[in-house]
Symmetry: C2
Subunit: 342 residues, 2 copies
């Protein structure tokens, strides 16, 4: 700490003007003379002045900070979303505070409190898989601090949501498998307490019924989609059945890739014996043998959308209703893992 921090008072003193004028000059306030502004800016750069955000925040009651809480940072989808958010938010002059819930409601609550105490101007959330109670967001709602949910949303909370049409995506994936001749379609997915998994599941069921295939509950597996869980399900359950399924719809690509290797090891041919559809369109789905059919889920785009909505709200009047739901497009990307026909 050799050199003291320069304040507007230092600038004011050297320029023989008031701190008020310096403050206004620095903010490009229209009432300040251009020459004065120039003198202020010049001296400021010369002395290496930097504004003290805390004094400013304290006074303005605004932090220019946006909080993000996600279940886990280390998935490609999440980091794409974050990358998109960061880009927009940063350009708009906001900072990002990021934390992860590790899929636990308790941690999510703590993080939410921390964010609240950090007085973020807005909060972006994708819910932990086991979050049942949403009261920790009440403080935000009550204070009119905007909260945007994405991907893993809470239906019951009145606020802006950005997501894809999971029902449709699930429907399309399943229908595709049916069209490829699958009759016994296994569905492996996450905790259906979460909309993303529930909706895909509903889409799956609807596609089945629309094609007159009865829904078989034993072909539905819900777990946490970790490597371990996928492996256990396949080895200890699926592969021990008398009749093996001929299709698999599994709701993320790394799990799909992992499942693929296990099934191949077990001697099954993909797609001949079992056709596979994943979800997300991560790079991983492109490099397996065969490449995996998947649903394109544009994380980066989603992140940018979320950030834009939030920034507009924050920088705009803020009176607009803040409870829209944005649905992003997804598409089925057909690759070899599911192509049995033609």
């Amino acid at each position: 700490m050799q050199d003291k921090e320069i304040t507007i008072y230092d600038l004011a003193e050297r320029l023989n003007i008031s701190a008020t004028t310096v403050s206004r000059g620095l903010q490009d306030h229209p009432a300040i003379n251009k020459k004065t502004k120039k003198r202020i800016f010049d001296l400021a750069t010369e002395l290496g002045y930097r504004s003290n955000k805390f004094a400013s925040n304290l006074r303005k009651q605004k932090t220019n900070t946006i909080g993000v809480i996600v279940p886990r940072l280390n998935s490609l989808f999440m980091s794409s979303v974050l990358s998109g958010i960061e880009k927009i938010v940063n350009n708009a002059g906001y900072n990002l505070i990021i934390s992860q819930s590790f899929e636990q409601e308790a941690k999510e609550k703590t993080n939410t409190t921390t964010m609240f105490n950090s007085r973020v101007d807005g909060l972006i959330v994708s819910l932990a898989s086991d979050t049942q109670d949403f009261s920790h967001f009440d403080t935000f709602i009550k204070k009119n601090i905007p909260v945007i949910f994405f991907d893993r949303i809470a239906e019951s909370i009145q606020s802006t949501k950005v997501l894809i049409d999971n029902f449709k995506a699930g429907y399309k994936a399943t229908e595709h498998l049916i069209e490829q001749g699958c009759k016994e379609i296994l569905h492996i997915t996450g905790n259906t307490a979460r909309n993303v998994y529930m909706d895909r599941f509903e889409g799956y069921k609807k596609a089945l019924s629309d094609h007159n295939i009865p829904y078989d509950p034993t072909l539905f597996i819900s777990n946490d989609l970790t490597e371990q869980a996928v492996q256990d399900s396949l080895l200890n359950d699926v592969l021990k059945r008398d009749k093996l399924p001929d299709g698999l719809f599994i709701t993320n690509d790394s799990s799909a890739a992992f499942a693929l290797t296990i099934l191949k090891e077990a001697g099954l041919k993909v797609p001949e014996d079992i056709a596979i559809v994943g979800f997300n369109n991560d790079l991983i789905s492109k490099v397996t043998e065969p490449a995996i059919t998947t649903i394109n889920y544009p994380g980066n785009e989603m992140g940018e959308n979320i950030a834009r909505i939030l920034i507009n709200h924050l920088d705009g009047e803020g009176d607009l209703s803040f409870t829209s739901t944005v649905i992003l497009n997804t598409e089925l990307i057909v690759r070899a893992s599911s192509q049995r026909k033609k």
Copy 2:
């Protein structure tokens, strides 16, 4: 903003004590009577008091915030590192501000300034691939704000560094290929201005020379390791040669996986025609056919290490020399993509 924010003055007034006592009580100051503390805490929770960090930071000149600048968020390695950092830092009561340089020196400089102005207590950096000049970190050094570099480090800067032994890793990867009988080993890597790539390259060369294989510059390709770049290099250069290489050491797993698919499409057999070694041990290397031999690079562990070092420094006395270099262990994970013998 229906309900006003509660301040220590509100608490003080209702309890008929001074704000000083409230402040001290809240901080568990030893000079405050236990009963008084209890009364303070009780009322605080009752009224939903939350400390104003800005007032506090302003006065204490400390922010409890740590900045992180990385080239890109959306890689599995990076997000694992971040996940590790976030975990430790969060437990220690610090916040994380994250931004990405998108591999550009200019953006890195801007981000650094923003971090500086946000008055982060510490900075964690992995350099952009094209950063040549490091003067933007001078302000931190001058002010004694700790900066930790990881993975992509700057040799010339005097500060703590956390990384792996890239030379050794490169050596091991190459030696392994040699042991599998490879004679013409192609090396595809990133910008060698960065230590990580340079050191691996040096390791590669040393392994060659130790095994009496002359280094062939035409077998060395340096690009930005994007899908496009890898594809271009392979299709327009490598695959057009008279004599194809019989080994490939490529310095990240997604590129390796991608290269694998291209080579297979070109009709080459892996590992028979060409043996492949990647880098990082991402999931992707496990699910390709054949699975890819790689170097295990523990991102999460690295993140936790970085964070611990920084926190210790910040919470400790801070007089300790802050210029150690931490080298994490890596190991070669042999998989089918390189196994030609035995």
